[in-house]
Amino acid sequence: MRKILLGTTAVVGAALLAPSFAAAQEAPTVRIGGFFRAYYGYTQQTGRNSTAPGATGSTLPTGVAGATGNLPPDAPGGNQARLSKNDFSTDGEVHVFVNGKTANGLSYGAVIEMAFNQQEGRNIVQQRSSTGKTTASIDEWYAFVASPTWGQVRFGDEDGPVGGLMNSGVITNFGTGGVYGDRESFVTRQANDRTTTSPGSLGDATKIIYLSPQFFGFDFGASFAFNYNEGEDTGCSTNQSSGYCDSSYAFTGASGVGIAAAGPNFSARRNEYQGAARWRGSLAGVGLSVTGGYVGAGAARELTPVAGTQARVFNNLNVYQVGAQATAYGLTVGAQYEHGDSNFFWGNTFRGDRPMDQFFAGASYTAGPFTFGGNYVMQTVEGASRSAFSGPAADAGSKSGLVASTAAPGSAGFGAGLMRRLGYGIGGNYRIAPGMDIVAEYSSYTVAERGRDLNPSNPGTQDKATAKVFILGTRIAF
């Protein structure tokens, strides 16, 4: 009876506070959800072998010292160790959902998604001083307050409206997601032969997000983040302004992280804002969704160590996006186009660099427990930048501090310019039970840039790199 009384009081309260939406108060619930998946993968990737640095001109990429230290210097025709093509891969996340409703109809809650894939590569710092690949970390976490009248605010580490929440035309609902699927679990980073300019790769930087209610089929969203970073603390290792500091707007080495460094959220991106508008409706039984969006961001400046000059080496991130998809009778087709100042991985480009163009198309078909589909992505970006930062030039008065590259084709530092990135994936899944699928998928991704050595740890000029991955496995979401 007491509950009923509370309920009726709540209804009266709601009627007074928000006349058109009566709702009963709901005590918060805490739910546990998540997913687990286990795959077999067969991978064919160019350059997935190790050759020792030496006579034939191969060099180690920076930051991987010791990776091939177990090989003697090149001998003619020998000393190659290939990676195996076969591997298993597991991944899972545990999600905690808190949901409640106040007497006046506000929904509120929080989402905490615990992931267990903190480290992509294993890094033995010292003996008995290292972390495993399955170290726990946070994927996304945020709090939200939502009202039918004014929409929803999310505050925390979460995708933005353009970066995953409101996109249309990005068809990934088959296999593991096709070209934007789990293929990267099997591909090494050599030559950046990966597909990471997907909407979600824009990042989960700590942001505040507004998502409107839907009215006349339209809804829109906007978000703002001060920088690329997630979580608490400043990230600073000392008082010095360094790239590790979440909020430093100028630091030495910024020019090297226009494209974020893998792992520690190390990026020059600052003041990221996103806005997207979406329309959904149906015409003659065909479900339609159209999204237009924009993401912009500034960038940290490069700080010269000698004179302390701050150089604006980067263009602002400045990308427009349009996408559309249509669904009828289980068939979904969609396409998305993006254009603007960005590099792959949603990196900031150097001033004077060419803008990015990216086209994505996909289709999927669902019949009963089966879903099949395919998708394709084509991207052109600035490859090796046509210029490089020079501290002395900045100190001498150059605003950007950039100096045009004069290196010869094939040599280190050669700025060939246009990088082409092409990929496609086809796959399917069979639903064994609600939430549990068997998935199979084949995907291929190629990076090409004429004249530039994409894989300096192998002899010669490797200006094209391809990775093909076949995945067979299962996943369960709960």
Binding site: M1, G33, H95, S107, G151, S212, P213, Q214, A477, F478
Partner: protein, 178 residues
């Protein structure tokens, strides 16, 4: 650019608030989840997972719908049917399955012609639970040709409720064994 953005940031929520009847809150599972897009695989979308703390309203609603699934009833079907059965010895004056009220007409037991009873029953919700039904009996006695209100012992109401609940349990177990 910045003043424009600020203006847009303020104007859009206001604009959104004008949608009125054409407006609804966008559910959380209508937004993409790009860390692999896994939410779509969850059996119940955004309401997935196991409730470890608090009352699982969705599950209650699902179970109530499954249990009392008769279309048009906004109260628990077992309790409703059991109340009707229990009060069926009295003439029915009105029954409203949406409000969950049953009101009988005056009824005089065969052995006692100088008293009469009337009952009001309320079925209070979709859940089959012991406090889900409330019965109130009214009694009048004939004194010098006039019907006069007289008290009903509190336990009588509770006894009627117990009878309803027992009948509801019976109905529930019958349908479960089917």
């Amino acid at each position: 650019m910045k003043p424009l953005l600020a203006a847009v940031a303020i104007a859009l929520p206001l604009l959104a608030a004008c949608g009125d009847s054409n407006q609804r809150l966008v559910n959380n599972d209508e937004y993409g989840d790009y860390r692999g897009g896994r939410a779509r695989n969850r059996p119940q979308g955004a309401n997935a997972g196991l409730v470890v703390f608090g009352v699982d309203k969705d599950r209650e609603a699902r179970e109530a719908a499954a249990a009392g699934g008769a279309a048009g009833l906004s109260v628990n079907a077992y309790l409703w049917r059991a109340t009707l059965d229990t009060l069926s010895f009295m003439p029915l004056a009105s029954a409203d399955p949406f409000g969950g009220t049953i009101i009988t007409d005056w009824y005089t037991p065969a052995g006692a012609t100088n008293e009469r009873f009337r009952a009001q029953a309320y079925v209070l919700g979709r859940q089959l639970r012991s406090d889900g039904v409330k019965v109130q009996l009214f009694r009048q006695t004939l004194e010098r040709g006039q019907w006069v209100d007289s008290p009903v012992s509190a336990s009588t109401n509770a006894d009627m409720e117990d009878k309803v609940l027992a009948r509801a349990r019976e109905l529930r177990s019958q349908s479960a064994s089917r």
